[in-house]
Every structure is written in C-alpha cells, then in structure tokens.
C-alpha cells in the first residue's frame, strides 16, 4: 500500500521523507525534548521563508524539464534594486525589482522557445549578466537599507512561529498549488515536462507555458531577493544568501525530477520544510557546522536513489516474487 502511495500520489514521497526526517531527528534528540518546541518550528518556517520562493520558481522550471540558473542573479540584483530605490517607499523598490525579475524571465523564456535552445545555456548567461548588473548597480559595495522599520517588521514573529516573510511564501505556495492542481495549466505543465512533442500535438500552447514559467521563476526569485534584502536591511552584489543549492535540493526532495514531468508546488513546499527542519533540528542537537551539509547530502542521495525507476522496479519485482511465494518457497526448499 505504501509503495502504491509513494508511486501514485505526487505528494506521497515528500511527505514520507518529511515524516521520516522528523522521526529521525526526534530519535537522535531523544531525552532532550527540545526538538518539538516553537523555536524549532519558527526556525523551520524562517528557512522556508528565505528560500521557498526561489525553490517554487526553480522547481516549476524543473517540472517542465528546464532549469533556471538565473535565479542566482535575479535574487541578488532584485535585492540591490529594491534597496537602491526603496529607501523612502519600500513598495517602489519591490515593484521595480519584481518588474526586472519578470522581464529577465520573459526574455530568457522567449530566447529558449524562439531559438529552441536548452535552458541551461541561456539561464547561465542570464545569471552572469544579472550578477554583473548587481555589481555595477552597487559599485561592488554592500548597500545599506536605512528603513529599519521595514526590516524589523518583516521578521517580527506572528503567532509565535510565523513572520510576514514565511506567511507570504506560504501564500504563494497555496496559490500555485491551487492553480496547478485545479486548472488546465497544471496538467499542461506536467504534459510538457513528460513529453513535449505529445503535449504540442495534444494542443498545449507549449511556448506560452515555457515563457510563463520562466517569467514566474524570475518574479519569485526577485521577490525572495527583495524580502531577504529588506529584512537584513542591506543588499550585496554577491547575494546575501546561497539560494540555488537549497532551492534545487528542496525541489528534488519535494518530488520534482530533473527529467521533468513530476512534482507539485505542495511537494516543493514539503521539500523546503524538510530542509528547514533538518537545519533547525541539527542546530538544536548541537551538531557541528559541517554535519548539516553531510546529513542534507545523505538525505538527498537516499531520495535520489529511491527516485530511480530501477529501484522501484526492483522493489516491484521483489513484491511480485514474494506474492506467489517464490522466494519463501525457494528458501524453504533450500
């Protein structure tokens, strides 16, 4: 039953991984009891709020079997633009950064469909251009953001465990999940990721969806950059945070496959929560700084191996062998 759930429900595997991760941490933290505290929940949600939006955009590009490397550049240039233009009115900075992120996404998406090029090359170019732009705009200086009220408001705890940032990120995931789960766009995304030619023949407007997904990814990466910059009251051309590794990890943990066609927004959200709870949990357990990376890598590796079609097929075969009593029978005879 569990295998069927794992295979058939797009949220099954991420959910199981999440539960297993929490269980593992609880087992390791046995006797400490500190793991199930509001502080850990809040820390998990803050990690979610920091990188979740990037993971959502990037994850959706992975669903359609593309990959948006430019999120790195959009994230840092978005923060720089917001801090440079939003000192008096934070909304101006936010809108300008969002506009730039969306335009960058549109442009890259258009190049990809128009020239029929792979997204890695185009978005690698995009990443370099945008990161360079961040250095030019900031003159290779860390930029201060003087509106400290905005900074403190964004991270102020709400109901103990949330913040404006994490709630906003959560809202984006809910809307994305609704759109993907209940509209035609969702089915089209999966269709394009699974078999682009078949999707085209079936009448899906493949080009429009690809351009749209890249525009969305650009906008979410820019928004994430703005939120992090505003809440740290600064912007840095080098980017204030390493986003692409955790974002891609979250997407993969969340059931998105690099070969496209699988994964849902809620799965990506769960992937993000896995990262968050690992970070917060290991922290509480007092693990040394490098341990987190090792554990994260190990979890990712386990998921990647479990994700392999070969393994599932083998498991399926074992099941078939057990069912008619072949294995147990052989064992008895031997």
């Amino acid at each position: 039953m569990s295998l069927a759930f794992l295979r058939n429900d797009p949220h099954g595997r991420p959910l199981v991984t999440f539960v297993l991760t929490v269980l593992l941490l609880v087992v390791f933290g046995a006797g400490q009891g500190a793991l199930l505290s509001p502080a850990v929940v809040r820390s998990t949600l803050e990690t979610f709020g920091d990188t979740g939006l990037v993971a959502l955009g990037l994850g959706l590009t992975m669903v359609i079997r593309e990959f948006d490397l430019s999120v790195v550049g959009v994230f840092s240039v978005g923060g720089c633009i917001a801090v440079l233009t939003g000192n008096t009115d934070p909304w101006t900075g936010l809108l300008l950064a969002l506009a730039l992120g969306m335009i960058a996404g549109l442009a890259q998406g258009w190049l990809i469909v128009r020239l029929r090029l792979g997204s890695i090359g185009i978005t690698l170019g995009g990443m370099l251009v945008l990161s360079g732009l961040a250095y030019v705009l900031s003159e290779n200086r860390s930029l201060p953001y003087d509106n400290m009220q905005v900074a403190l408001a964004l991270t102020q705890p709400i109901a103990g465990v949330f913040s404006i940032r994490s709630l906003l990120t959560l809202a984006f995931f809910v809307v994305a999940a609704l759109v993907v789960g209940t509209t035609r766009i969702g089915r089209d995304l999966i269709a394009i990721g699974s078999d682009r030619r078949a999707a085209m023949i079936a009448g899906v407007n493949v080009n429009a969806i690809i351009v749209g997904v890249f525009a969305f990814s650009g906008a979410t990466a820019a928004l994430a950059g703005v939120l992090v910059s505003y809440s740290l009251a600064s912007a840095s051309p080098a980017g204030l945070s390493d986003v692409i590794v955790p974002a891609a990890t979250a997407a993969i943990l969340g059931g998105v496959s690099l070969s496209g066609g699988t994964g849902r927004p809620l799965g990506i959200a769960i992937g993000m929560l896995i990262l968050g709870v690992l970070h917060a949990g290991l922290n509480v357990l007092g693990a040394p700084p490098y341990a987190e990376q090792i554990v994260m890598g190990a979890v990712l590796l386990v998921v990647a191996v479990a994700d392999g079609p070969l393994l599932l097929r083998r498991l399926g075969m074992t099941k078939q062998l057990i069912k008619p009593g072949l294995i147990s029978g052989a064992h008895r005879n031997g």
């Binding site: 500190a34 820390s43 920091d50 200086r141 403190l152 009251a233 840095s236 700084p289």
Partner: protein, 342 residues
C-alpha cells in the same frame, strides 16, 4: 617533662610559624586567584559563537583557542558557522534568541545585514560580543565590545611597509598594484582606506590598480598574472601588495610563472603581504616578500573568551578591545614564526 618543655615549645613555635606561613600562603593564593581571572563568573553560561564561515585555518584557530579558554572558565560553548551566508547568519541569531543563550559572540558575515538581528538580540536582552569583523558605524549601542584589530591601522602599517619596500630597492616612488580581500564591506575597504591615507603623502607612488581577490588564493594568482601582462608594456610594476599572505604568495608565484624577478632590488618586483601566515613567513625568510603584518587568531580567541568572562564578572568592557598589530620583516620574522603558523 621539664626538660621536655622547652623542646615542646620549640616544636610548637616551629609548628606555629609553619601554620602562619600556610595561612598567609592560602590567603595570598586566594587574593591572587581572585585577581587573575575571576574564574567561575561565567561558569555554566550558555555561549554561542557564530562564525561567518569555518573553512579557513584562521577561523579554525579562533574557534579552537576560544573553546579552550572558555572551557577553563566553565562556559557551555556552541559554535555555528554561516558559510558567508548573511541570511543564514540572521536565522542563526534568531534561533539563538529563541533558545535563550546567555551571550552571543558574532563574527558578522555582513556589516550591514547583521544590524536588524543585533537589534532583536538587544530587545531580547542577549548581550553580543563582536569578533574580528567590524560592523556599520553608529551601531555601537548594539554590542558590548568589539574584539579584533584596528583595520585602518593595519592598512596604515601596510602603507608604510609599501613605502619602505620601495625605498629598500632605492625607489622613492613607483607603480604599485593592490590585490585585496573582499572590498564590498568589512575589513577590505577599511584596510584599503588606511593604505591610501599613507600613500596620499607620497605622490610619486602611483596606485595603478586595485583588484578584489576576495581573500582567495586562486583568483589572486589569476589577477596578479593579468596585472603583470597589463603593465608589461609600460615598464612593469614596482610592487604588488596582497592583503593576506596567501594572496601575496599567490602574486609571487604568478610573477615567477611570468618570469619576473621578485625581491627588493632596484629592478625587482617587491611584494608586501598581510594577515601573517606560514607561507608569508617562509617568503620573508626566502627574501621574496618584504613584510607582513601580525594577526594572531589564537590571541583573538582567548581574548574573546576573556571578554565574555569579564562581562559576566560585571567588569566594564571597552567598546573596542583591540589586539596589537605589528609589522613583520626579515629583522623580526623569527620571533613571529611560531605564532603565525597555525
């Protein structure tokens, strides 16, 4: 008995003097003990050390010496590192506030980005000691003390060393290039300002290039190679400065690869380093590098643990608790060798 009496008295006198001596000894010991370290005022305090990153011998040495000293005070120390991720460090500070640490020792990733988190820590009444990396001016009310070096002063010492290195080759001026640590904020720009301040009074020394090597060896070697190629047509460079010794030694290697003679002779390329490291000390001994500047992580780690203990002992700490910085040249390299090797 009678005969015994004076003997016993003598014995008693000996015993008495011994006991008095013992009493004085104990008293003196107690006074001394109280005077040295107030041992125990930070016993059992939960202290969190937040490093900007942990993958560098300098930082590893700070952590190690801090842990050792803190353990002697009986502190309960936890160390976390942020891998140069300012957002991660902000989350670590938020977590630390939620978990009610008694004290935070922070090496800030971003001099600007750490400020909102420090405001939160202050609101939560958690004292903060800043380590090594200076932060945005005007935020002095957010931390107890800064333990580190005067980076402007280190820049000024480097500036003077640059002038002296050129003089050693009989030059009263020349074309120089500076390969720096990260210039976007923190230490890099402060040290650069110190250098420029000194060189302003030496108009014959021309800063031909300032390149950001991000404290890293490989990019610095590349940058140096490009600089040599760029200035080859216009007579070459007279001096290269690497803000940290790994960068300066990278510049020496690039010069050797480009066939440029390194040393302080009239036609040679002079090299000045900083943040003394083993490779820099070796280069000074080999006559390839003119000077470096002391920056000793073990002293820093110990001083930070002392500062934490002093805080809990109720002492008033200076806003800036600065380590001495000294110029290291061939003349005094031997006495620094051990401390710069970690």
């Amino acid at each position: 008995m009678r005969i015994d009496a004076p003997v016993r008295w003598r014995l008693n006198a000996q015993r008495l003097s011994f006991m008095v001596a013992l009493l004085f000894g104990v008293l003196a010991g107690l006074c001394l003990g109280a005077g040295t370290a107030d041992a125990g005022s930070s016993t059992g305090k939960k202290v969190l050390m937040l490093q900007s990153f942990a993958a560098h011998p300098y930082v590893v040495a700070i952590i190690k010496s801090f842990r050792e000293r803190a353990a002697s005070y009986g502190m309960d120390v936890t160390v976390e590192a942020a891998g140069f991720d300012a957002a991660l460090q902000a989350r670590q500070i938020e977590d630390a506030i939620a978990r009610k640490y008694d004290m935070l020792v922070i090496q800030a990733v971003s001099e600007q980005g750490v400020v909102p988190s420090l405001i939160r820590a202050k609101q939560a009444n958690i004292p903060v000691i800043l380590s090594n990396n200076p932060i945005k001016p005007g935020t002095e009310n957010l931390y107890v003390t800064f333990v580190g070096q005067d980076q402007n002063e280190m820049g000024r010492i480097a500036g003077k060393a640059i002038v002296d290195a050129l003089k050693a080759g009989g030059r009263d001026g020349g074309k120089i290039a500076l390969i720096t640590g990260a210039l976007s904020e923190g230490i890099g720009p402060r040290r650069l300002a110190g250098i420029k301040e000194v060189l302003a009074s030496h108009p014959k020394i021309q800063i031909a290039a300032v390149e950001d090597g991000h404290w890293s060896t490989a990019p610095s070697e590349q940058i140096a190679g490009q600089l040599y190629a760029r200035f080859a047509a216009t007579g070459g460079l007279d001096l290269v400065y690497g803000m940290a010794d790994n960068q300066a030694v990278a510049a020496i290697k690039a010069a050797q690869a480009a066939g440029i003679s390194v040393g302080f002779g009239p036609k040679q390329l002079a090299v000045v380093g900083g943040n003394c490291l083993k490779e820099g000390i070796d280069a000074i001994k080999a006559g390839q590098m003119y000077a470096t500047i002391s920056q000793i992580p073990t002293d820093l780690g110990r001083k930070e643990a002392d500062a934490v203990n002093d805080y809990f002992a109720g002492k008033t700490l200076p806003k800036n608790d600065l380590l001495p910085v000294e110029l290291i040249t061939k003349a005094n390299v031997d006495q620094w060798q051990a401390r710069c090797t970690y």
